[in-house]
Symmetry: C2
Subunit: 149 residues, 2 copies
Amino acid sequence: MLKISKLTDYSTVVMAYLAQFPEKMHNAKDITAQTHIALPTVSKILKALTKSGLLLSHRGAHGGYSLANAAIKITIADIITAMEGKPGLTECSHNNTLCALQPTCAIAGNWQTISSIVYKTLEKISLQDMVLLKGSHLQHHFNGEEHIK
Amino acid sequence: MLKISKLTDYSTVVMAYLAQFPEKMHNAKDITAQTHIALPTVSKILKALTKSGLLLSHRGAHGGYSLANAAIKITIADIITAMEGKPGLTECSHNNTLCALQPTCAIAGNWQTISSIVYKTLEKISLQDMVLLKGSHLQHHFNGEEHIK
DNA sequence: TATAATTAGTACTATAGAGGTCCTATTTTA
DNA sequence: TAAAATAGGACCTCTATAGTACTAATTATA
């Protein structure tokens, strides 16, 4: 149902936690304790986010992870992209050659457009929005700007 | 990667085809021939869309399917909802009780908001947009309205 | 009224992908 | 040198999706 994966979902939880103490270094065990996500899962997420450049890692004793950028510069779109690759609603949103229907499909171009609209929407929501503003404020944020017309 | 399912994707192709000849009745075999989607799959899709009220069906000889409403009244959101249920980006977008993290999850409310923003975006795109306007026009349609701010 | 055409409904199977776990190597601090 | 962490895979299990097939019900028409 137009879902992001559970891992991606968890990633936003983890990122949101890290964003609350941006200057501090957090190790996987610490994050598990705070978020109640299983340790191996947290570990997997942290590795993926690091590889994509959203987190910085530091090995060894007193090592851990921290945000690579300010929370206001990191968007929901960034997190989804890091975990799942660039989002596209359909196969043909990226790769025109994959779909067998392509030659007769009248609407392929539209899906690329729609995907990009959704992506831009997600790019407008920062990690900071998630953490500081909490639910209702985010709502006003968008309503106030007449985001959806 | 934030995908809709293949069946849903096909559904939009089928709906778009039907919308090109709204007054005519089309049977499953006809639609298969035109869209190049396998017959059993087309059949499955047509049944689902009928059950959700997007299509009207007529049994027996010379029976078939036709749009239940004008193409301009049917939105992409309608089609996705018909095939997959109301879209929500995360588990907790609908059901607050499902997620084990809920008590400590700081961002659940935000996902509900974001899901609803995405949904509203998809509600703004009609089947008519898909069929008549074709790719580039749809783009202008949204750019012109400064849809994404 | 019989027949052919067509949808309705249900049940089944196979496959891919997601989620989750664990092990070993590497790096860094103290 | 030892302990504390992350890095990087390998691996397993389970679920949901996609696709298929079969039978029943309905309708037009000859």
